[in-house]
Amino acid sequence: MAKRIDVSGLSAYYGNHLAIEDISMTVEPRSVTAFIGPSGCGKSTFLRTLNRMHEVTPGGRVEGKVMLDEENLYGAGVDPVAVRRTVGMVFQRPNPFPTMSIYDNVAAGLRLNGTAKRKKDLDTIVERSLVGANLWNEVKDRLNKPGAGLSGGQQQRLCIARAIAVEPDVLLMDEPCSALDPISTLAIEDLIGELKERFTIVIVTHNMQQAARVSDRTAFFNLAGVGQPGRLIELDETQRIFSNPSAQATEDYISGRFG
């Protein structure tokens, strides 16, 4: 668990449209890496290439290499389903399975994997995951109630619990707080700080203060113009990106001159 991601020469397409071009970067294990950049710069697309979710979009395809420690996720014979079991993902809008109870939502991934078939093991992991997502105390008395009945912030933590229940190597978060109020956002940010002890975390955010608060390293993406592919401008220690970035475009963006 908590593996290093090493991306080299990665481009992603929607049909014939080149969305991101030639991205190379390393994401350190047990740390939080934030992706920032203006809308349409391809940061979400890039995130979705890291667990092979990009290719489920019709016309979506990827060129290049993503190494997870020693394994190329895009190597021949690699099953994308298996990749997604080791690289978890949390989405912009909380998306618990509406027809499932809180318990079943957390257990969903475990049941897919076929691990922990016995009820007792399942109970243990569900509790551990909900505790890990700082949700246990709020829901322990109503595990059999539908997950869709929780508040937005609780639903998002439920989705995090669901993602970490299968003990992934990496946790991808696509603007996980953009649909939440400030208090729920704070709860998720605190949680991210705890989760990085165990997982490699990549988070896409539009909120630069959030990137500054939660991440160890920050990557800035940009695009030359509408219809142009997104590119990685720079990746550095978060503190450096926000105080003394090496690229002019980064400085312009974080100081609010565009984007």
Binding site: M53, F91, P98, T99, P146, A148, R162, A163, V166
Partner: protein, 327 residues
């Protein structure tokens, strides 16, 4: 500019009096009127059916519910719905058992599996099937399906005859049976169930499917975890539409079924009848009283349809708090 009370720029109306626009009033009247009209029509149908039914059933010399034969124009009249109710239910159940899995399969294939250039033509062909008139299905059933059922019925009789259900009383007779009718009805309702299910499957939010995908679900697991639970109530509705057509189907059944006042568990035997088929077969030469008797049987069919719909609504309501609409 004039400042009539309906002008949006006009100052607020005095307290206690809300501003209404002429267009709103017209639309309100129209929609309320259509609602009332519908209720009036429903009530009129119910009164008509009930009055005729009472007058017919009160003169029935058999037991209306348990008598097998339908001799409403004899003196004294003896008629009952036992065979018709049984035949209607059995043929519809056979149709549903066959049509539901096939329809969901086709709908899933169109909405989730097939590449777009295959899916669109396929969906169009299924739409076309729904537009074929039932008499055409009936002729096809009688002239093509019945002779070609011989092999299947013989096989079922030989290997599954011990189940009683698939036993043929007289092997080799033409397959003008409830079983053949069920298959024909299944073919007729597949397009309906498929079309409605397909639309429901298409409406499954992308976020639900991605939730499953991101957990490492295969395509089938995505269908099982996200698509089918979300579409559950839609599938029930689709089935009800299909079942409604199967229960009420007239010409196709009348053309294929060799009807007789026999109630048998052997569904391969050319025997039995259905409400709609019975009405179609007898209506032409029926006396006024005979028509009232047929109307009585129609009322029973109506009640059965109502019960089935009620049951379906209960299925949908039972897990309402888990319904996908809540998300």
């Amino acid at each position: 500019m004039d400042t009539t009370p309906t002008d949006s720029l006009a100052p607020p109306a005095p307290a206690g009096k809300t501003v209404t626009r002429a267009g709103d009033r017209v639309f309100l009247g129209l929609s309320r009127g259509s609602g009332i009209l519908l209720l009036v029509i429903m009530a009129a149908i119910a009164v008509f059916l009930t009055v005729r039914t009472i007058s017919a059933v009160s003169q029935d010399h058999g037991n209306f519910l348990t008598t097998f034969e339908w001799n409403a124009d004899n003196t004294p009249p003896v008629f009952g719905i036992a065979v018709l109710a049984y035949g209607t239910v059995v043929s519809s159940v056979i149709a549903m058992v066959i049509a539901l899995p096939v329809s969901i399969g086709i709908a899933l294939f169109i909405s989730h599996y097939a590449p777009r250039r295959v899916a669109s033509p396929l969906a169009y062909v299924v739409d076309l099937l729904a537009a074929v008139p039932s008499i055409v299905y009936g002729l096809w059933g009688a002239l093509y399906l019945v002779p070609h059922m011989q092999g299947l019925t013989a096989w079922l009789d030989q290997y599954l005859g011990w189940t009683v259900v698939f036993k043929q009383s007289a092997p080799g007779t033409a397959a003008r049976s409830l079983f053949t009718v069920g298959i024909l009805l299944a073919i007729m309702i597949i397009p309906i169930i498929t079309n409605v299910s397909r639309e429901v499957f298409r409406q499954v939010p992308r976020a639900h499917e991605e939730a499953a995908l991101a957990l490492g679900a295969t395509r089938w697991e995505v269908v099982r975890m996200s698509v089918l639970p979300f579409a559950r109530s839609g599938i029930v509705s689709a089935s009800m539409l299909g079942l409604g057509r199967a229960l009420g189907e007239t010409m196709a059944v009348a053309t294929v079924l060799s009807s007789s006042p026999v109630l048998t568990a052997h569904i391969l035997d050319p025997a039995g009848g259905t409400f709609a088929q019975n009405i179609a077969s007898h209506f032409g030469e029926a006396t006024d009283f005979g028509r009232d008797a047929l109307i009585a049987s129609g009322l029973v069919l109506f009640v059965i349809t109502l019960l089935v719909n009620g049951a379906a609504r209960m299925i949908i309501a039972r897990r309402k708090e888990y319904s996908g609409a809540a998300a």
